[in-house]
């Protein structure tokens, strides 16, 4: 298999600085493969959120090369960005729910943006809200939801469009352990269907619950590779459990 066909994201010597400050990310190089499950770990301030911003195309790097879905994402014309973003599902650390919309409308937002008709939105959004335990809060505005409920709405919104890649920044930080486990099962289920999942977290217990996951660790803006996630083929594949979605 051609390597470039298999990759979903490739970072090559990427650096990021905000304004004229020092680099918050330095010499970041890695490749994400379709159907793989990655955890991004690191201490607070290590650069996890900055790296995720590059992944979900909210920030352009100061240097280096980023390829996404086989295309140079740095020189990508602005009018092609929406098409790329629709292939991504993002769970923001601060949820970023639209305060004027109900839980239902927030979850439906990616489908509406993608032009899905209303009659095709009702059932999947209702099912998703039921599953995350918010079926009876579908009309509630974010301000009236607890932190955990808002987080579940944010996750439901991220996965409702069945993205090619799911990027989640501390997605279980505000929910109880049972709900955290349940949400993790959702990510795994999506991963089994071919979605590449990248979860930034501090939670070691969460990582241990996905034994097949690959771990990337950020330390002061530099990436390390405790599980061979950055190798090609990734260590897990070398051990006989290839990243899902790749073919021999």
């Amino acid at each position: 298999m051609n390597q470039s066909d298999a990759e979903i994201v490739q970072f090559d010597n990427v650096g990021l600085r905000y304004g004229t400050g020092k680099e918050v990310l330095t010499d970041i190089s890695f490749t994400l493969y379709p159907g793989s499950f990655y955890f991004l770990t690191g201490a607070s301030g290590a650069g996890k959120t900055s790296l995720l911003k590059l992944l979900y195309l909210s920030q352009r790097p100061s240097r280096g090369l980023i390829r996404m879905f086989g295309t140079d994402a740095i020189t990508l014309p602005r009018d092609r960005l929406p098409g790329f973003r629709r292939r991504l599902g993002v769970v923001f650390q601060d949820f970023r729910l639209v305060q004027d919309l109900s839980a239902f409308d927030n979850v439906a937002l990616p489908l509406r943006v993608a032009g899905v008709s209303e009659k095709d939105i009702l059932r999947p959004v209702s099912d998703m809200l039921d599953w995350v335990g918010l079926g009876d809060r579908r009309h509630a505005r974010p301000a009236t939801l607890s932190g955990g409920e808002q987080q579940r709405v944010a996750i439901a919104r991220a996965v409702i469009g069945r993205p090619d890649m799911l990027v989640a920044d501390e997605p279980t930080g505000n929910v109880d352990p049972d709900m955290a486990f349940k949400l993790l099962r959702l990510f795994e289920a999506m991963n089994r269907l071919g979605t590449t999942v990248v979860v930034a977290t501090h939670d070691v217990h969460l990582i241990q619950k996905v034994p097949e996951s690959l771990i990337m660790r950020l330390d002061k803006g530099r990436l390390s590779d405790p599980t061979g996630a950055l190798r090609y083929p990734p260590r897990r594949a070398a051990m006989g459990t290839r990243p899902r979605g790749t073919t021999k």
Binding site: S58, F84, Q99, V113, D120, R162
Partner: protein, 333 residues
């Protein structure tokens, strides 16, 4: 634990298979309504509640539209006044017989009338009756019992209508025609007396057009400021929609709908206010009972143009909103 409801896909595919269930006319109608909503930006509206601008925006639009309607109506009425007056005066010529001696004046009037009535290009020639002349000068000279106005050396007037316009060449021809038979005749084109009035009317029309242009610019500026303000207060939401793959056009349409709603409400109120003002002005001018003002009414085409003012304001506001939003969004990633 239940299996996660893996979404997505399915949305379109799943319901494509279910489409026939609802079937029938109601289904077709709902589908057409849905398509219409999506084509006209209705689907975008569900991404955000109606992006209303700021509170005073409809009132600002109402004031702008009312002023524009009044300016437009004034400009059109002035144009009609000028047209009516110039049509009345286009072929009009006044011949004054200035002779002081009544008998000689009467002889020259008769000779001039004979010459004029047989002259080519003259459609009509008639002496202005003495009682009309007396009425004309009465406000200046007054009348008392015993006064003999006819004894005054008042010029006799002959009202002439030319079949063509009363240009300089025609006036010169009339002067040559009358010189032998009525040596004291003075020939003037009636339009020349009113040329300063026509000049003033033209200047007022230019003023009305300038006012309309300035009001349009002010409307655009007001919309621009309101949209910028709304963009600032909705910045987070816009970023979220961007992050979810929303296009600039989708976001712009949300704001366009908000502006359109405000402009439509303001336009209706402004049109109403403007029409009331026009009606009051019309009543005041009609009370003047001036012949010239009477020609300045508004025709149905004029009213049609006035009714287009709020539509023009709406189009201008929506276009301004779209351009403002798109320009602002280009600065975002």
């Amino acid at each position: 634990m239940n299996a996660p409801p893996i979404p997505g896909a399915p949305a379109a595919e799943r319901t494509a298979g279910e489409a026939g269930v609802g079937g029938g006319l109601a289904g077709v109608r709902a589908s057409l309504a849905e398509q219409w909503r999506e084509r006209t930006g209705g689907a975008d509206a569900r991404m955000l509640p109606q992006a209303r601008l700021s509170g005073p925006m409809p009132w600002v639009m109402a004031i702008m539209i009312a002023l524009t309607v009044i300016a437009a109506a004034s400009g059109l009425a002035l144009r009609n006044t000028a047209h009516a007056a110039s049509a009345d005066l286009a072929g009009g010529v006044t011949v004054q017989i200035l002779s002081a001696a009544p008998a000689d004046r009467a002889r020259q009037v008769a000779a001039a009338l004979t010459a004029l009535r047989t002259a080519p290009g003259v459609a009509q020639a008639a002496a202005v009756p003495q009682d009309q002349l007396n009425a004309l000068i009465e406000p200046w000279l007054g009348t008392r019992p015993g006064d003999d106005l006819e004894a005054l050396p008042i010029p006799a007037l002959i009202d002439v209508r030319l079949s063509a316009g009363a240009g300089a060449q025609q006036i010169a021809q009339l002067r040559r025609l009358l010189a032998p038979v009525a040596p004291s005749a003075r020939v003037d084109a009636q339009a020349s007396w009113l040329s300063p009035v026509f000049g003033a009317i033209g200047a007022l029309q230019v003023l009305a057009a300038t006012l309309i242009a300035l009001l349009a610019a002010a409307t655009a500026a007001a919309v621009l400021l309101a949209v910028r303000n709304a963009l600032g207060s909705n910045r987070v939401t816009i970023e979220i929609i961007h992050m979810l793959g929303g296009t600039d056009s989708q976001i712009a349409r949300i704001f366009q709908r908000g502006v359109a709603a405000d402009a439509a409400a303001g336009g209706i109120v402004g049109l109403g206010l403007g029409i009331v003002a026009i009606a009051l002005l019309r009543r005041s001018f009609v009370a003047l009972e001036s012949g010239m003002v009477a020609g300045g009414g508004l025709g149905w085409i004029d009213w049609l143009l006035i009714l287009l003012v709020p539509l023009g304001g709406l189009a201008l506001a929506v276009l301004t909103a779209r351009l403002t939003v798109l320009r602002a969004l280009r600065r975002m990633l």
